[in-house]
Amino acid sequence: MSLIKCEQLSKSYGSKQALDNVSIELKSGSPIALVGPNGAGKTTLFSLLCGYLLPSSGSVTIMGEKPGSQGLLGKVSSLPQDATLDPNLNLISQFILFGTLQGLSAKAARDEGQRVLTLVGLADVIEQKPQSLSHGMSKRASIAQALIGSPQLVLLDEPTAGLDPANAKVVRDLVKSLSANITFVISSHNLDELEKLCDQVIYLDKGKLGREVSIQDNLTDEYITVSMQTCDKAQFINDIEALNGVNSVTQRQDDEFLIHYNADDVNDLEIQLFQLFSRNSWRYRAILKGRSLEDKLFS
């Protein structure tokens, strides 16, 4: 059974079409990324999946049930964008409420609240009110509430926006460590982050579904992306294009090159590249099998 199934899903706010005839089917497993420019309809899609909004037309089901239905309670959780916890109540009392609503006893709900707040590094502030927390801490508290109980699907809308690099890494590591049991759908503008976390990428633009990209395709992709620290760019392109099996070398950014090759003609291209770097005393920053997500989506 599909985890998420949207069929000709549309949502409009007055005359503005936020989602236009979107049909997708997603299966549970590795984290799924949802990307797109501002106003592309990502948050609207999340809100429809969570049942916060009703579709204007089309249908959406999660695990075969309508969003917000009794059967999904506790199985789907989310970090909604712009939603804040009650500023007048401390974190743990709100988490106990969430836990008890999910069927836990008061004691178990307290333990669960402490567990999830510890996961996001907020064990020391459980007795504090949200208004006394920084933006980053509030965001982490909101992520923690999404992990209460045993959700099967967690929708995270911009989970690392506004977090410092160290805490963004904590969140990424958390998603990685939990993704064996939970399917995450993550909306973010940080493509590097999504590349590290997700296997499947869905691209939305102006409310329409763009391309769907699989990061795992990189393994069979006949591309290598190289970021160089020091090199003679013209010579770099000429020398690599001269290698057997290489079709083309394109400079993507100032120091990033995309090498397209024919896998049937060459099976040691990486070794040849390293030998070339060594001969010319060039230093590389990164080598990626395949293309970067940015390149796949926007080129």
Partner: protein
Amino acid sequence: MEPHTTPSMVKNTLILAKFELKKLLFNPRGLISLFAFALVWLLILLYPVRSASSFLLTEEFKLLISAAFGESSINELFKWEVAEMAIFWIAALYLFPLFSIFVSADQFSSDKHRGTFRFLTLRTGRDSIFFGRFTGHMLIQSLLLILTILATVILAISRDMSLLLPALTSGALVFINVFIILLPYTAMMAILSLYANTARQATIYAILFWAISAIIIAIINSQLPSLAELLQWVLPGAQLSMMINTQGLGSLAYAPIPLIQAAVLLFLGRNYMKRSSL
């Protein structure tokens, strides 16, 4: 972690209702509101209730009232065994609905505005949230009502200790009557606070609703008096003026009006909650 029990709609409704009461009692903001309410009622009890009840006991006052308003207009008022409870009844009939508008103005507005509901709707159904909040606000108002009735009982027995039993009996009946009166007010505020972004806005909508409805009914009354007579029962509080001259079990004769109003308003509110965007 697996849940110990499968959450049911009724269980979650009660959890949310208890949480509303807890927010009032274990939160500095809630306690300040409670203190302000207690202070207002202390003044009402110490001055109007205590002094008016002593008037009510005098024969001259009875004659004056009868002469001014007629023999049967408020004759039931003099039949109350506990004079303090009679004055409290009149004050409570009008003040508690007014308090209800303010106390229950934030059943949903703030949470909806800041998105806090989004944390709840994935854990419990919208019915539980709607009826849980409504029940919670009725619990809060019941607590306030019980406190003021108990204070009135204390005031009465401080005058005459033998009034304890009649004061408690009539106090219990006053509680039941006022509780029923408050149901449609709280249900109305549930709908308005779902629509409004803040508690203040919900209160303004309530004032506008009652004022505009009264004007419309007055206009209809000039053209179609029979229709206006029917429409006046739609408004919460329509029966209040008639309830002044009732007491005890007799007041319950008017209970069907607020009960039907509350049922209709809760039905409308529940459907609005189901369809609204969070």
